[in-house]
């Protein structure tokens, strides 16, 4: 079995983010690392975050830093990854790519202990960079410019210290003196010698300054001093005239200012009043804002509170360190303060947010200072504060993030054309169920009822140079309605259009006149109001029209074509006539090429299943240039011109090209390239769009021509980052559409459907899925479907949290304590924060502030029945007394008294540290009431461990309780044990069944294949895996095959060899004799690994599904970083050969951006087996054209054929 791996939804979580001006000049951009993805984001003028570029790097990006050479206008990006190399990138604005400027190898690849890549420190003046490992190694590279002003990098200078753990590295701002780097280090050499643990307890963290002597080209340890043992992070303090220099050491509960030759200044970090005393406060992310006259730091704690840190200093002497409460936002992995007065917050889980500063925290607030620090016998006096609603920040945009996906099911619950993907996302109060549908999201601007059922709609400008459209013209079966676009849209009668007849086409013709084609003629309305009318000869009527700005072709009934042109005076003149063989089904004229008088090509579709290209050259007289036969009669034709572009927003150079698109009556979109000179058709592709013949319309998307195809659902064909994408829109069936530009909506679409006129815009281009979000209460763990009733049952649980009642009481108390003044204040701000819905009814929404922390043995959990259609929870059972749900399944017991029941495995008071323990485990059995909408507890059975897996099996319930697999039957008051097997190595985390086989997944030891012998009532393992795998997800593929994913980011398939499988099935003892012989330390048979692939992200859910009607079945996976991918099985050997060769060439000619070898990355833990990386193959179109041609030559194909192949395989998946 060979598989094609393709990422459907790129990772949405963010590992780290940096900001700077990467394209040069004044622009502000953000570079984010999303695991193995590097992206460039830019906030647009409306404060919306736009993704400019997204590159798959095939390596784990661990750290990012930006630097700027003195006097330069542009920032470079330094990437620390698992490649054992330092990579310096420059953003190339013209080509929209990251250019790799330097790549220096220093060590082995992989995230190793002593190979640098984990930390990056930058000299604030951009003269040097330090790259460090978790332990021992630190390397310094000197950055400089050569005579041609190119960036140069030196050979590495070592600053190693063995037996040392490094917590953080940063540059120290010391102006133009020798660059200094600071590091928090912990020497463990003594602790290792001492087995009693005394030395380990005494180990002291140090702050060390490393000085790079630029003269001697040498790094030395300049200064080292003991620092608070809770230190975890360093922040550079501006220096060299801008500030006092030195560093801020963030430690547990403290922020300390340190500098060489300067006394320490220490201030406590204020604590939330409700925080348990034993919990510390740790800073997890920091951002610095620096202006000419001032600077401050924003530090965020692990609970989400942001503090503003300021230093009072005169010259180099700091007199006071102040920490003031600023605001609270969800916990971030990185924060970026932009010069434009915005804050980008990359949330560690859930949606990322973009804030605007409303203030910089100058108002009075809870503050702690180094001057007021009180030391008592019990330690330093804490300072308390109460979180309040946002005061200094205002959220203006958010970027959707699925991170983390906890569980996923692909099912067509809503009976739409394609299945929906139900994902459980997020953590704690920010959890949600997200329903993903393939397609682009649209936002509806207006819907208005019309007096009849319209058949068509157009928009026209009054002048070719106008920015906005002037009229919307709607045609009915016997009339035409003209609406004028202004402040409002209203009906007008002075436009000159004939309103007593239906229209066939309405458009701007020439520079400033309008044309209306109706069945009896053409009405040409000149700018000064003169009207010229051309009447159809005799009793013939006009059937079809094709036009561009200067040419019009009409088809009369019977099949005669009449060709008109606009002459220099703006008159529409009949030029030529041409008789076709039969009725014309559709026609279109290519747009007039830049600088030309006319377009040469007319496409005519006939009912004899052909499309002809006719020339409109006056010398050639409308003769056929080429003929293409198609599978069904064409319904609609559209020429789409892709203009030549060198660079620009979309990236790489494209030669101009012309595509002819045809919507066929069988629902297929047929797309072919038209030779710009000869009119020959080549490189045709077709794709099934829906059950209705697609109607094609040209619209504008991001200033470029795009195509809207209206079949049983609408599709958009557009160019995104250099690729042509054809994506469905998540919208209802439309009849007819036109582009729409007005004051309020620059790039919209107006469409008719039923008796309504709809105006909408298309959002978030480039995305594969659009999502509907339903918020949940706690971290969702698993869910099951009740397919018959179309309901979901979700289990949610959170450790270290108070139950709902306790939270409610605490909140009430807190508000009472703070008095009404605070409440009144809160209300006033509520108005300001109007955009934020969640905040409105709840003064301190848990979404922003998180749940208050409790002790580690405290759990909250709930079981929820949810109707996804109405997004309503029909039943919510909150578990009591620290009980938490871990597994769920629906089960039909033999005795059919109750029908389908719900089994939920729970544990009470579960603790992971210091040892995994729980006071009790239970299996709850619930009965569905009210047609499945509500649950009733039938009984609760205590078990000896945590039931982590449940599954129905032959009318009984299989439960995995720690290492025990047990079969239960339903009793009156509890479950009854029927059979068990205690021979599993660790903890059972998944159970799948098929016929009499049971496939058990162990948390640490991969799969075990079991069999149940009913006669002897025995469960036994007949096969297992020889490789230890820490399972995180599993799925049953077929009788002998299982798919699994492990904690280290691998997806793999195991299969029981055919002969072994047959033997077991034929053996009357079912392999039992062999099993009893007890060979091979485990099961007598071993499964074979048939597929292995390193995804590079922890896969949490797997499912086999087909995402499109008629598409191939693939294995869909979801990951912790919020990405979705698919593995599609190849059906032909030729395809396998083709793609493996393409992959091989791309590996050679297109090495990944961050320096990791592609093959090595995909084989990070186990050698990759029989999987072709589609993400790498899809980088083919981004290569330079000559390289594309070179690879294509070696494959004996043309680049076009390769692109077609890539498109085909993608279309099979989605």
């Amino acid at each position: 079995m060979y598989l094609y791996s393709l990422t459907l939804q790129r990772a949405t979580g963010i590992v780290c983010a940096i900001n700077g001006s990467f394209s040069g000049g004044k622009s502000q951009e953000i570079v984010v690392a999303r695991g193995k993805l590097l992206e460039l984001l830019r906030p647009d003028d409306n404060g919306k975050i736009q993704t400019l570029l997204s590159v798959e790097t095939f390596g784990a990006i661990r750290s990012l830093a930006q630097f700027r050479l003195t006097g330069s206008q542009k920032d470079y990006i330094v990437v620390g990854s698992d490649s054992g190399r330092i990579v310096i990138l420059e953003y190339n604005k013209e080509k929209n790519v990251f250019d790799k400027i330097h790549q220096e190898t220093f060590g082995k690849s992989g995230c190793r202990r002593i190979v640098p890549g984990q930390y990056l420190g930058i000299d604030p003046k951009g003269r040097a960079v330090m790259i460090g490992a978790c332990e021992k190694q630190k390397l310094v590279y000197v950055l400089n410019r050569d005579t041609a002003a190119r960036l140069t990098i030196s050979s590495p200078l070592e600053a190693h210290k063995s037996h040392t753990i490094v917590y953080s590295i940063c540059g120290v701002d010391c102006g133009f003196d020798n660059p200094i780097f600071a590091a928090i280090e912990l020497d463990y050499s003594e602790a290792d010698q001492d087995s009693t643990g005394v030395a380990a307890g005494d180990a002291q963290k140090n702050l060390t300054f490393y000085e790079l002597d630029l003269g001697l080209n040498h790094v030395s340890r300049k200064w080292t001093e003991a620092v608070d043992n809770g230190a975890n992070m360093l922040v550079t303090v501006p220096g060299g005239g801008d500030g006092p220099s030195g560093v801020l050491v963030c430690a547990e509960n403290f922020v300390i200012y340190k500098n060489q030759g300067h006394p320490d200044l220490r201030a406590v970090i204020p604590r939330r009043a409700d925080l348990p005393a034993e919990r510390g406060v740790l800073i997890v992310s920091a951002a610095t804002h620096k202006q000419k006259a001032m600077f401050f730091f924003l530090l965020q704690t692990e609970y989400g509170d942001i503090f503003k840190v300021t230093l009072d200093h005169d010259n180099d002497h700091v007199t006071e360190l102040k920490i003031k409460y600023f605001d609270t936002i969800p916990v971030t992995s990185s924060m970026c303060v932009l010069k434009s007065g915005h804050l980008f917050a990359a949330s560690e889980f859930g949606n990322h947010a973009f804030y605007q500063f409303q203030g910089i925290g100058d108002d009075a607030d809870v503050e702690s200072s180094s001057a007021s620090l009180m030391e008592t016998e019990e330690g330093f006096q804490p300072v308390f504060f109460q979180p309040r609603r946002l005061k200094n920040l205002l959220r203006i945009d958010q970027v959707e993030s699925l991170c983390p996906i906890m569980d996923m099911k692909v099912v067509n619950l809503f009976e739409e054309e394609t299945p929906q993907i139900f994902t459980l996302c997020g953590r704690g109060p920010r959890s949600s169920l997200r329903i993903l549908r393939p397609g682009l999201a649209i936002s509806e601007m207006a819907v208005s009822e019309l007096p009849g059922v319209p058949s068509a709609v157009w928009t026209v400008k009054k002048n070719a140079t106008d920015e906005f459209d002037a009229y919307i013209v709607v045609s009915f079966s016997n009339a035409t309605l003209v609406l004028s676009i202004g402040e409002t849209v209203e009906e007008v009668s002075d436009s000159g259009f004939l309103d007593t007849t239906p229209s066939l086409a309405v458009s701007l013709i020439g520079d400033d006149s309008l044309m209306q084609v109706h069945p009896n003629g053409i009405r040409h309305i000149r700018e000064d109001g003169r009207i010229n009318e051309w009447r159809a000869p005799g009793k013939r009527t006009i059937a079809k029209v094709g036009s561009n700005r200067l040419q019009v072709v009409i088809a009369l009934s019977g099949g005669e074509l009449v060709y008109f042109e606009v002459d220099i005076t703006g008159q529409l003149i009949e030029v030529d006539k041409h008789e076709m063989n039969g009725d014309v089904a559709c026609l279109d004229i290519a747009p007039v090429p830049e600088g030309r008088q006319r377009s040469r090509f007319l496409a005519v579709g006939s009912y004899d299943n052909t499309i002809r290209i006719l020339t409109l050259d006056p010398d050639e007289g409308m003769q056929d240039l080429s003929v293409q036969s198609v599978s069904s009669a064409p319904e609609s034709l559209l020429f789409l011109e892709v203009q030549a572009s060198v660079g620009g927003e979309d990236g790489a150079d494209h030669p101009a090209s012309l595509f002819l698109n045809a919507g066929l009556q069988n629902g297929v979109l047929f797309r072919t390239v038209v030779d710009m000179v000869t009119g020959q058709l080549s490189d045709s592709r077709s794709r099934f769009l829906g059950l209705r013949a697609p109607k094609l319309f040209s619209i504008i998307v991001r200033g470029k021509r795009a195509m809207l195809c209206l079949s049983s659902r609408p599709w958009l064909g557009y160019i995104h980052q250099g690729h042509f994408l054809l994506t469905p829109l998540s919208y209802e069936t439309l009849e007819y559409a036109a582009s729409f530009a007005s004051d309020q909506c620059a790039e919209g679409v107006v469409a008719v459907a039923g008796d309504a006129l709809r105006v909408f815009t298309i959002e978030r281009l480039g995305e594969t899925f659009n999502e509907t979000v339903i918020p949940l209460r706690y971290t969702p763990r698993k869910f099951v479907l009740q397919p018959k009733r179309k309901l979901l049952v979700i289990i949610e649980s959170d450790q270290k949290a108070f139950s709902a009642e306790e939270r409610e009481a605490a909140k009430k108390e807190c508000f009472e304590a703070s008095g009404t003044g605070e409440n009144g204040n809160g209300n006033a701000e509520k108005m300001e924060n109007g955009g934020d819905d969640e905040d409105k009814d709840d003064p301190l929404s848990d979404e922003n502030y998180g749940y208050p922390n409790a002790e580690s043995e405290r759990w909250v959990s709930c079981i929820r029945v949810l109707d996804p259609k109405t997004a309503s929870t029909t039943c919510l059972l909150e578990l009591q007394e620290n009980e938490a749900a871990f597994s769920i399944c629906t089960v039909n017991f033999h005795d059919k008294e109750y029908g389908t029941l719900l089994a939920v495995g729970t544990a009470k008071g579960l603790q992971f540290w210091p040892k995994k323990s729980s006071t009790a485990g239970y299996i709850h059995i619930y009965r569905f009431l009210e047609d499945g909408r509500s649950l009733e507890l039938l009984h609760k059975t205590q078990v000896e461990g945590v039931p982590t897996a449940l599954c129905q099996f032959q009318g009984r319930l299989l439960a995995g309780i720690g290492p025990v697999l047990r079969l239960y039957d339903l009793g009156k008051r509890r479950l009854l044990r029927k059979c068990e097997n205690k021979l599993f190595p660790n903890t059972i985390v998944s159970i799948h069944t098929y016929r009499d086989r049971i496939y058990v997944g162990d948390i640490q030891e991969s799969f075990h294949y079991c069999k149940y012998r009913r006669d002897e009532n025995q469960l036994y393992i007949f096969a297992d895996d020889s490789v230890p795998r820490w399972l995180t997800a599993s799925y049953h593929i077929d009788f002998d095959t299982m798919a699994g994913a492990d904690k280290f980011g691998n997806v793999y398939f195991v299969r029981l060899p055919q002969d072994v499988s047959d033997e077991i099935e034929e053996d009357p003892t079912g392999g039992k004799i062999k099993w009893e012989q007890g060979k091979l330390n485990g099961a007598p048979n071993k499964v074979e690994e048939i597929v292995q692939f390193h995804v590079g992200d922890v896969v949490t859910c797997l499912q086999k599904a087909s995402l499109i009607p008629g598409g191939g079945e693939c294995l869909i996976y979801g990951t912790v970083m919020g990405s979705l991918g698919a593995l599609l099985a190849f059906t032909s050997r030729d395809d396998v050969d083709f793609f493996s060769h393409l992959e091989m060439h791309l590996r050679q000619d297109n090495p990944p951006l961050c320096g990791r070898d592609h093959m090595a990355y995909r084989s990070a833990y186990f050698p990759v087996k029989d999987v072709i990386d589609g993400d790498l193959c899809e980088q083919f179109p981004t290569l330079p054209l000559d390289l594309q041609r070179k690879i294509a030559d070696e494959l004996d194909r043309t680049p076009g054929e390769i692109l077609k192949k890539l498109e085909e395989v993608r279309n099979k998946i989605i």
């Binding site: 190793r112 202990r113 602790a191 991170c403 983390p404 270290k800 992971f912 980011g1049």
Partner: protein, 75 residues
């Protein structure tokens, strides 16, 4: 296995040097432990996975792993 010492770099020799002294059981265990934690800290998705399991922030999880790495066998 034969190793040509001439072809080795300094750092390789250092590795061999250390390898020649057979580590004690606890040294070996500490090494494995440190390698593991360093790997967890380096792979963000795994860190996130742990953070979800323990309902902690990723920053706190990373810090705790680093602390354990420092403690070694004293823990």
């Amino acid at each position: 296995m034969l190793i040509s010492f001439a072809s080795l770099l300094d750092k390789d020799i250092a590795v061999l040097d250390r390898a020649s002294q057979t580590p004690t059981c606890s040294e070996w265990a500490v090494n494995i432990q440190r390698d593991s934690y360093a790997s967890y800290v380096g792979h963000y998705p795994i860190l996130a996975y742990f953070a979800i399991a323990e309902n902690e922030s990723i920053g706190r999880r990373r810090y705790n792993f680093m602390q354990v790495e420092g403690e070694g066998m004293g823990s």
